[in-house]
């Protein structure tokens, strides 16, 4: 089927915008190639679309914008310096601003204390980069050493506690066999159960002493620091 000129005219925009299906597009082009009226029309419309797309936006005059603002929001009032100052103070007296100032001050305090700057006796020399670096380095190493010492002490204490607990459990489960058993048969007249109890305590003390010696042999440096 061959398209007529009216059909070409009706589908012209769809063809230019690439919206025609492939079959219709080939029919369109077949007609356009042989029709002396449609070919210049297609070129003319294509040219019009290109020209319209290349036309730039016209700038709006500031007078128009001002005029629109005056007509909708009313004429702009003249703001005095005093009103400007009042607005500024009103803006500063808000919780948001106060939180902001507080957080900035806290940050500076942390930075000052970390860099060793004394706020009570401020010195200009403290602000020198080499002094700041030295102070930060010193504080870092002090903090690191303190932390290491704290955890090492904690470890010794836990070690001692666990060993004491272990000894206590052993004494409760298996009584010391070196202690002579006092039975009602070999019990001397006037002898009470306090003697066996004292013996148990003595054994326990001996055992703890022995454990401490072993511990001291294992980690002499730690114990030396802990009990100094």
């Amino acid at each position: 089927m061959t398209w007529t000129c009216d059909q070409i005219e009706a589908q012209l925009s769809d063809y230019i915008e690439g919206l025609l299906p492939a079959s219709e597009r080939s029919e369109f082009e077949a007609h356009a190639a042989q029709c002396p009226e449609c070919a210049p029309l297609i070129a003319g419309v294509r040219n019009v679309v290109t020209n319209l797309h290349s036309m730039e936006q016209v700038e709006v005059s500031s007078r128009l914008v001002q005029s629109i603002l005056n007509q909708t929001l009313g004429p702009q009032e003249k703001v005095t310096r005093w009103q400007t100052l009042q607005n500024l103070i009103r803006g500063l007296a808000t919780p948001k601003f106060a939180y902001g100032v507080a957080s900035v001050m806290a940050t500076f305090l942390i930075l000052f204390s970390a860099s060793g700057i004394s706020l009570r006796k401020p010195k200009l020399a403290d602000l020198e980069p080499s002094n700041v670096f030295r102070n930060v380095d010193r504080r870092y190493h002090l903090a690191k050493a303190g932390t290491v010492k704290y955890f090492s002490d904690l470890r010794v204490v836990y070690e001692i506690q666990s060993r004491l607990r272990q000894d206590q459990n052993e004494l409760q489960v298996t009584p010391d066999e070196s202690t002579p058993k006092v039975t009602p048969e070999n019990k001397e007249p006037g002898q009470s159960d306090d003697r066996s109890h004292q013996q148990k305590q003595q054994n326990r003390a001996n055992e703890i002493g022995r454990q401490f010696e072993m511990l001291a042999a294992q980690c002499p440096a730690v114990l030396e620091r802990s009990f100094r």
């Binding site: 029309l41 040219n47 020209n51 700038e59 005059s61 128009l64």
Partner: protein, 167 residues
């Protein structure tokens, strides 16, 4: 505000082809929008689409009002328009050619019937989608497409009549 005023002013300017009239209509559009802001519903499409509908209605009112005493060629048509800053990169001769062509196309636009003119302006100058134009003009999509197509063909014929040759 500046973005909206730019779009509204450009639609008005391309429709009436006269800067002073376009500025007056733009002011009217903003006043109308300001007063009827409460009647805006998102069902109208985006705010920009709604504002374009208000602009279009006022342009049609203006067209009907000035139909009797309208002159086809106004003084402003011959005056060079202030192009935006993108044009600063061009050579003076290129810019002059573009301004001349732009003036001719603008002149041809104002000779189109208002129905075809508004459709072409919204599609080819404001780059709106068919669905948006359908909302602005309140006509079916088929009518929108038909008006755009006829508008382009008419424009091509007017330009040919004016002696502007297709490149």
């Amino acid at each position: 505000m500046r973005r909206h005023s730019r779009r509204v002013f450009n639609v008005c300017y391309r429709f009436v082809g006269n800067r002073t009239e376009a500025e007056d209509i733009s002011q009217e559009v903003f006043l109308r929008v300001y007063r009827t802001l409460g009647s805006y519903r998102s069902a109208h499409g985006g705010f920009a689409t709604w504002m374009t509908s208000v602009t279009r209605n006022l342009l049609i009112d203006h067209y009907r009002r000035t139909k009797r005493d309208r002159q086809t060629d106004s003084l402003d048509d011959a005056m060079p328009v202030v192009e935006n800053k993108e044009s600063l990169g061009r050579r003076p001769d290129q810019q002059a050619l573009l301004n001349e062509l732009s003036g001719q196309v603008q002149s041809a636009l104002t000779r189109l019937s208002p129905e075809l003119r508004e459709a072409v302006i919204l599609r080819d100058l404001q780059q709106l989608e068919y669905a948006e134009i359908q909302q602005v003009l309140a006509v079916p999509e088929g009518t929108v497409k038909s008006r755009i197509n006829r508008g382009r063909i008419e424009l091509a014929k007017i330009l040919q009549h004016m002696g502007v040759r297709a490149s």
